[in-house]
Assembly symmetry: C2
Homo-oligomer: 290 residues x 2
């Protein structure tokens, strides 16, 4: 086995999309989601709690997923914690091959489902191997420590964003989205500076971070997945005043396009495959890449 490779392993699959995924053209990201859900005839539950739109968002995803070969989607939209107590809604998650959470407001989504029977059913489904995915808000909510609101920009500032309690399907990782398009470098750095046990993952639009077994991260789609490892950074995030720019010195960053394989536990690139294979690069520098 070449150095730096993971031993073969399996585990549940998380499929976190950075928002604005292509639903009408090549549909590269959603096509990969359906493939991982089992392909033709797969039973996909769509959870639309985060969305401010009406039932048409469920129609939209039904059309897209059926167009990619799935069975008609299972439409789920708990709107309150009372709804999320309904055994029938929770039970629906025991019957599917994949769960897809729409975009919208992740604070609403987490507020409705985390800690309810519906949330518990989601975690149970994930644990038994159901592909759990989502876009934008539906991506961020998989974190245990979930990014809530925030502002844009490349310089991290104290208090520019907050955390709240997410689903916890991916412990130790905070997932942000629309990363390139909304300039969220500063906001993600500010979060991990204050919580250096977390790895920050920022996902571009029309791009997915596909994470297997809480460890192997693959990239699918048009943009990049950004990973920041703050473990060895020096910071003043425990001292700085609200609004002050933060000292964050020595964080290690990774910008990963489609074809990259990354180890979230060891926090390093495993391999990179493109039309032009660049494996030799990795073999030269693997020991140093951390």
């Amino acid at each position: 086995m070449p150095p730096g490779r993971l031993t073969p392993f399996s585990g549940s699959t998380l499929f976190a999309i950075g928002g604005a995924e292509d639903r009408t053209s090549r549909r590269v990201v959603l096509r990969d989601f359906v493939r991982r859900a089992g392909g033709k005839g797969a039973r996909v539950a769509v959870v639309a709690t985060a969305s401010a739109l009406g039932p048409e968002i469920l129609d939209t995803y039904d059309e897209v997923f059926v167009g990619l070969g799935t069975a008609p989607v299972v439409r789920l939209r708990p709107e309150t914690r009372d709804d999320a107590e309904d055994p029938a809604l929770a039970g629906a998650l025991d019957e599917v091959d994949a769960v897809f959470m729409t975009g919208g407001n992740q604070v609403k989504l987490a507020g409705v489902v985390v800690g309810t029977p519906f949330g518990a059913a989601l975690k149970r489904a994930y644990a038994r191997g159901v592909v759990v995915g989502g876009t934008s808000a539906g991506a961020s909510v998989v974190s245990e420590h979930m990014v809530a609101f925030g502002s844009e920009g490349d310089t991290p500032r104290q208090g520019m964003t907050q955390l709240s309690a997410g689903l916890g399907l991916l412990p130790g990782v905070v997932v942000d989205q629309h990363f390139d398009q909304r300039s969220r470098y500063g906001r993600l750095l500010s979060l991990v500076a204050r919580s250096p046990s977390l790895v920050g993952v920022g996902i571009d639009e029309d791009t997915a971070a596909v994470i297997t077994g809480e460890r192997l991260l693959e990239v699918v789609g048009r943009g990049c997945v950004f990973v920041v490892d703050p473990a060895r950074a020096v910071t003043d995030a425990h001292l700085a005043e609200h609004g002050a720019p933060l000292l964050v010195s020595g964080a290690v960053v990774h910008t990963l396009p489609a074809g990259a394989h990354f180890d979230l536990v060891d926090r390093r690139l495993l391999s990179f495959e493109e039309t032009h294979p660049a494996h030799q690069l990795l073999h030269q520098t693997e020991g140093d890449a951390r």
Copy 2:
């Protein structure tokens, strides 16, 4: 001597401002520039070649600098390479304590002065200890490999920015500006991914990177100075197609607010002083901060 400290040293001072420095209120950045130029009565040459404005930009800086205690400024505005051959213009730089280059278009500025007697006089002045500074375009031009044009965003893409030949006062460093305000994280990463011998320095607006002896970087002003060290990064920047998002894995980043002292040669934080001294942090982690 505590570990990680520079031995006392001296050297020429570069004063690179990220644009939009406060000229009317507390003037923290320009005040520090004047102090380093010798304070009261200092002779400052203002080079306005980059600016698209008329002579009023020279009036503006004359007013600001005189308001901060300098002698009336020496107004210099070579507009062509022919102008920059004029021995009188070049000679004026032999008589001053500081040179300040305005913002505007650094490709024009570099195109007019680099490789001319005026450019040579600038380098000579810098070598003899004259403080050389500038804002925006006037900051970027100090690089040997100078950022030219480019686009915004947090994901590095092939060809999103270009290099051209700058003054070369700061070999091995590429200086970008308006860093936070124009989301230039991606553009700076794309440059150093392709030229991993360079360190990238991105300066926020109303903020200065003050670099002494080509080594010690101090931060002055309201925002941060961002430093990216690509030396150990894995990349596909030698292969990726134009417009493609780049793989850049394992770059080390530093976001440095006012009070930070950074070693550009060893590429690590030396100390950080704020209203709340955080030295103990550094002493704990100094060996790891790279």
